[in-house]
């Protein structure tokens, strides 16, 4: 059997968009190797059968009281059991905080090769070939597998969810599994203030650099972000100056992002920043300095004072989006 197992992710009791993206890519790959696409979910999701429209045949919903909160070792154990039963030849997951934690350990357990944080996947001569950025996107490499089970995690927004069978329902298989004795228990979860998608999953990002001059000035970026449904990021210079917390940092020692639209405000475009956002589909630069290196990489740009331009953009977007 050459089935593909997708490790799905849930948010708010529903299947996340990243899983729909990955299921769509998996369906395309399955077509090339003649297998079916299956999804594994930890917990129950509302409407999980609708993954059928993306080409998924089966959804395994693994439930265990012990896994109501995420646990690395427990999740590895139940997934390893599922893999032993289903024998997929390819296992795919998302390069999310969960996937990055879980998949390397699962791969080690399964004696499988793993390519992390990929931006594309293909089948060549019946085997998976994964494409991934290295050196934070300063170079690209293809990964080939030497193992029976081939695993990859992919970056959010790498693929477009494709409905291939409108209205089709995936078969739901409920599985009760024992994650064993758990160590490393979560004592509490400290909720972030933002209900926006994480930078790594955001489809639109508005980012500020050193030119923001102060933490409170990020308010104008937040206002723009609210209007266009964006998540706010920052450059390393802005973070190191104390204008923004580190979990907002985009770049080589921050988050690597992959949005459809990246609006950089007062960011000159240092090599390590560019590394973190260069796969953005459309880049917009707003900077006072016409010589800012980012202008040579941007699809669109405005030479001007961000404190003037950004509020004008917010106003303009408000106007046209109300139409």
């Amino acid at each position: 059997m050459s089935n593909i197992l997708v490790i799905g992710e849930l948010g708010g009791g529903k299947v996340k968009k990243v899983t729909q993206e990955l299921a769509s890519k998996a369906a395309e790959l399955a077509g090339k190797i003649g297998g079916e696409v299956q999804v594994a979910l930890i917990g129950n999701a509302q409407g999980a059968e609708e993954l059928g429209s993306f080409g998924v045949k089966k959804v395994f919903q693994i439930t265990s009281q012990k896994l109501e909160q995420y646990n690395t070792e427990g999740t590895v154990k139940v997934l390893a059991e599922l893999v032993a039963e289903q024998k997929p030849s390819i296992i795919l997951g998302t390069a999310s905080p969960m996937g990055r934690d879980l998949l390397p350990r699962l791969a080690t357990r399964l004696e499988a090769g793993l390519a992390s944080d990929c931006t594309n996947l293909d089948i060549v001569d019946g085997k998976l070939v994964a494409t991934r950025p290295i050196y934070s996107g300063k170079a690209i490499v293809d990964v080939k597998f030497e193992t029976a089970i081939q695993m990859a995690s992919t970056r959010p927004n790498s693929f477009v969810p494709q409905v291939v069978a409108a209205g089709a329902k995936a078969e739901l298989v409920a599985l009760a599994k024992d994650p064993g004795e758990l160590r490393a228990l979560i004592k509490e979860v400290l909720k972030g203030k933002s209900d926006k998608p994480d930078l790594t999953e955001a489809s639109i990002i508005v980012s500020g650099g050193r030119a923001m001059k102060a933490a409170e000035n990020f308010k104008i970026l937040l206002e723009l972000a609210d209007v266009i449904g964006a998540t706010v990021g920052a450059s390393r210079a802005a973070v190191d100056s104390g204008y923004a917390p580190h979990d907002m940092q985009v770049g080589q020692t921050g988050k690597v992002v992959n949005p459809n639209l990246y609006i950089a405000c007062g960011i000159s475009g240092a090599i390590q920043h560019l590394a973190g956002m260069r796969t953005s589909k459309v880049i917009v630069a707003i900077n006072k300095d016409p010589e800012a290196p980012l202008f040579t990489k941007a699809d669109y740009g405005i030479v001007g004072d961000l404190f003037q331009i950004v509020p004008l953009l917010t106003q303009e977007f408000k106007k046209v989006m109300a139409e």
């Binding site: 791969a107 793993l114 170079a139 597998f145 030497e146 979990d247 459309v282 405005i302």
Partner: protein
């Protein structure tokens, strides 16, 4: 308390990457190599943990070619006690092979209660070795750690892990544990001049990677190294009224790029 730090030497973040003529890797001539930035937080946390514990030993473990010794000395100058250099000359390593060798070195050392490392190395960006070592040693892991508090009984720690969207999970873990350090965990100290002098005479053992590896083989191979497609400059608006440029940009994003 025995504390280990796993360190990797990587090209500096300012490095411009060049690809070898046969696409088999990158040109390393002229590259400035530094301690992987995330590993600096690991080194700092290891030293801090030893201080809080009121004693113990910090062992720096690093695999790589001869130049790797510079990074071990940097950690020793910051305050680590001794180093282990795993010489990987002639070895083809992927994340699995690296994890296997590091786990074997830690097993050989024995009795290590806490292992700190960076959450990922900024060269390969795989972020797989830490979890691999955890699995091979059969111990708990906490990745992307931004806070580490030694428990009162000194037999475990409360560790905060960043999970995205500004949220964090707080773990209560008994040792042994391996921790993947994220930026923000601490502010790494600079090596003092006396520290640098002392580092020169601290013990440094050398192990052979091939001997630690045993029968294991790489599970993946990297081929066809290349540079990403160059992005070209697009439409840059300037010299007009700000309001006019803002309106033009919004129009372009909606009608030409169709991203909003």
């Amino acid at each position: 308390m025995k504390i280990a730090v796993l360190v990797k030497q990587v090209p500096d973040t300012e490095t411009k990457i060049r690809i070898k003529g046969d696409s088999s890797g990158i040109e390393t001539d002229g590259i400035k190599f530094v301690v992987n930035p995330y590993d600096e937080y690991a080194i700092e946390e290891a030293i801090k943990t030893k201080e809080k514990n009121g004693g113990g030993e910090v062992i720096v473990v690093s695999m790589g070619p001869a130049r790797t010794v510079e990074s071990i000395r940097t950690a020793l100058a910051m305050g680590a006690d001794r180093g282990i250099h795993i010489d990987d000359a002639g070895l083809q390593a992927d994340s699995h092979v690296t994890a296997k060798i590091l786990a074997a070195a830690l097993q050989k050392e024995g009795g290590v209660e806490v292992i700190f490392c960076g959450k990922q190395a900024i060269d390969g960006d795989c972020s797989q070795v830490v979890q691999g070592v955890a699995e091979l040693l059969g111990i708990s892991q906490v990745m992307i750690a931004v806070k580490f508090d030694l428990r009162e009984d000194k037999k475990g720690a409360l560790i905060q892990r960043r999970i995205g969207g500004g949220s964090q999970e707080v773990y209560d873990v008994s040792f042994p544990v391996i921790v993947g350090a994220e930026k923000g965990l601490n502010t790494p100290r600079f090596a003092s001049l006396p520290g640098i002098m002392k580092a020169k005479t601290k013990p440094l053992a050398v192990l052979k990677a091939a001997e630690l590896l045993g029968e294991s083989k790489p599970r993946v191979s990297f081929v066809n190294y290349r540079l990403p497609p160059e992005r070209k400059a697009g439409k840059i608006l300037q010299g007009q009224e700000p309001a006019q440029m803002a309106a033009e940009l919004v129009k372009l994003l909606r009608e030409e790029a169709k991203v909003i």
